[in-house]
């Protein structure tokens, strides 16, 4: 098991290693202008400098903070709302198309209206993230509750579960696999939306760092930003979200194990 994990992690890294090797070899070989694409060495140097003078950490911190705040706010509203809607078949079938529609709009499409409503800054960006997470998680929660078989709810009721116990012991855990999937998808959209919004609507954050570097032809900072954005997402997804999803869905046998 441990060995399997290790080898699959190595296999996951393999194509990136190849990419890095090609990068170190090909850029000097073709003598590419650093204004078009940087050397690996200058990207590493930009990274180290950013860490030393604190700017990179500041951008990362600002971005993560916005994601955290937007996501937590969204979950606080989305999960109770999704459950309330899911327990009534009429309400849930009525609202499902609406939430599907807004789920598709996730993230980026909200940026213009967000800047109109909140101006440039924290509010607008948090709003974009909130929307990216909120609609998808609400929709998934609603779906999760409505897929709990009626006999399971009946069983709880006939074992003496009241309203509160029904919520905490049946509806919430029953919908949890869907909720986790919703969070994972929603955060994916939120992360993309965040970078886009930061290019337009703020003066700190990874998206901003990327966009400003362009004005000074600092390709090493642009590429550094792209790498950080990708790596942060992979870490978040692989170390936090995917294991959470596995733990609920597979252990409980709520979907087929592959």
């Amino acid at each position: 098991m441990m060995q399997h994990r290790l080898s699959s992690a190595l296999w996951f890294c393999a194509p990136f290693v190849v990419l890095l090797v090609l990068w170190t070899v090909l850029i000097p070989y073709f003598n590419v202008n650093p204004r078009l694409f940087p050397h690996l060495g200058s990207v590493i140097q930009a990274g180290l400098e950013g860490i030393k003078d604190g700017t990179l950490i500041q951008h990362i911190g600002a971005s993560l903070m916005r994601v955290a705040v937007g996501t937590v706010l969204a979950l606080l509203v989305a999960i109770p709302l999704g459950i309330a809607m899911g327990v009534s078949p009429v309400v849930s079938s009525f609202l499902t198309p609406l939430f599907r529609f807004f789920s598709v709009l996730a993230g980026i499409a909200w940026i213009p209206i967000a800047t109109l409503w909140f101006g440039y800054g924290f509010g607008a960006i948090t709003f974009v993230i909130f929307n990216a997470v909120f609609f998808i998680v609400t929709y998934n929660t609603l779906l999760g509750v409505s897929t709990i078989p009626l006999p399971v709810r009946n069983a709880a009721a006939s074992l003496g579960a009241g309203k509160w116990a029904m919520l905490t012991e049946v509806l919430l855990p029953g919908a949890l696999p869907n909720i986790v999937t919703g969070i994972r998808t929603g955060l994916g959209f939120a992360w993309r939306g965040l970078i886009a919004a930061e290019m337009i609507a703020t003066n700190v954050g990874l998206g901003y760092m990327l966009f400003v570097a362009r004005d000074f032809y600092k390709t090493e900072v642009i590429v550094l930003g792209m790498i950080v954005i990708g790596v942060l997402w992979l870490l978040l997804d692989r170390l936090l979200l995917a294991p959470l999803e596995r733990a609920t869905i597979e252990r409980w046998g709520m979907v087929q194990r592959s």
């Binding site: 078989p149 009946n154 006939s158 012991e169 409980w252």
Partner: protein, 252 residues
């Protein structure tokens, strides 16, 4: 003493496709004394599940009365435990937590309710499975959990709707023998629904034959206990009883 009284029970469904009312249960009356094991047997569609769901409180009735210990039934409650054909275990709880659920709802503390759960799991030979999740058990084991989960809550009446219909024949026979053994030990009041005549006679003190939503006849079964398939397979009285019930159900 908590007995179950059903008086002139009826249920009319509205069929949205035909646009008409369908009466699934007509004027059913039945009295079940505490500690009795009653089987309701009848062909598919005769209203068995409808009756059971009304007693459980999952479905409102449209006529008559259902009384448990003299009190009218109003919605589901812990005085009536239910064992479902689809098991209906909580997939996110371990076997132990499933069985301890009823006591937990009563406010029994963690240590005490786990003790109760362990005791009932032992009764169904499930001690080994206590820490596993339902998805990790066979169908037969899952239904054993379903039975003891309902029993551990010590309901006045245990309602079972074709609980063994979805397991294989051998497992079903084992589960039937186990159920009669557990019943003898704990003596719960049981209403057991099935379309399998031999199963009904094997388990019951009394068999109620149902057809098209009406009670045809009640037949007392005074076969000796403990009952086992080995002993009853060639028993003339068992054969005579099953023959009679089968004829009743088929002739209607």
């Amino acid at each position: 003493m908590k007995n179950l009284t059903i008086r002139n029970l009826s249920k009319t469904y509205f069929d949205p496709y035909a646009g008409t009312n369908v009466t699934a249960v007509h004027d059913v009356s039945l009295n079940v004394e505490q500690g009795e094991f009653v089987c309701i047997v009848g062909p598919s569609g005769c209203g068995k599940t409808t009756i059971l769901n009304m007693i459980a409180g999952f479905l409102p009735h449209t006529g008559g009365d259902i009384l448990v210990g003299g009190r009218p039934v109003n919605g589901p409650g812990p005085d009536r435990g239910v064992v479902f054909q689809s098991f209906a275990l909580f997939p996110w709880k371990t076997v132990l937590e499933n069985v301890a659920f009823g006591p937990k709802m009563r406010g029994v503390g963690k240590a005490e309710r786990e003790k109760i759960a362990h005791e009932y799991l032992a009764l169904a030979k499930l001690t080994e499975a206590a820490g596993r999740y339902p998805a990790e058990l066979s169908g037969g084991m899952q239904q054993r959990v379903g039975v003891v989960r309902a029993l551990a809550n010590e309901p006045d009446v245990l309602l079972m709707d074709e609980p063994f219909a979805s397991v294989d024949a051998q497992t079903r026979m084992t589960l039937q023998e186990e159920l009669t053994r557990i019943w003898q030990e704990k003596r719960p009041t049981v209403i057991f629904i099935t379309h399998d005549v031999a199963e009904a006679v094997f388990l019951a003190n009394r068999v109620v034959a149902l057809s098209k939503g009406r009670v045809l006849e009640e037949i007392d079964v005074d076969l000796p206990r403990p009952r086992s398939w080995d002993a009853l397979n060639d028993d003339p009285q068992f054969k005579e009883l099953t023959g009679r019930v089968l004829q009743l159900v088929r002739s209607a």
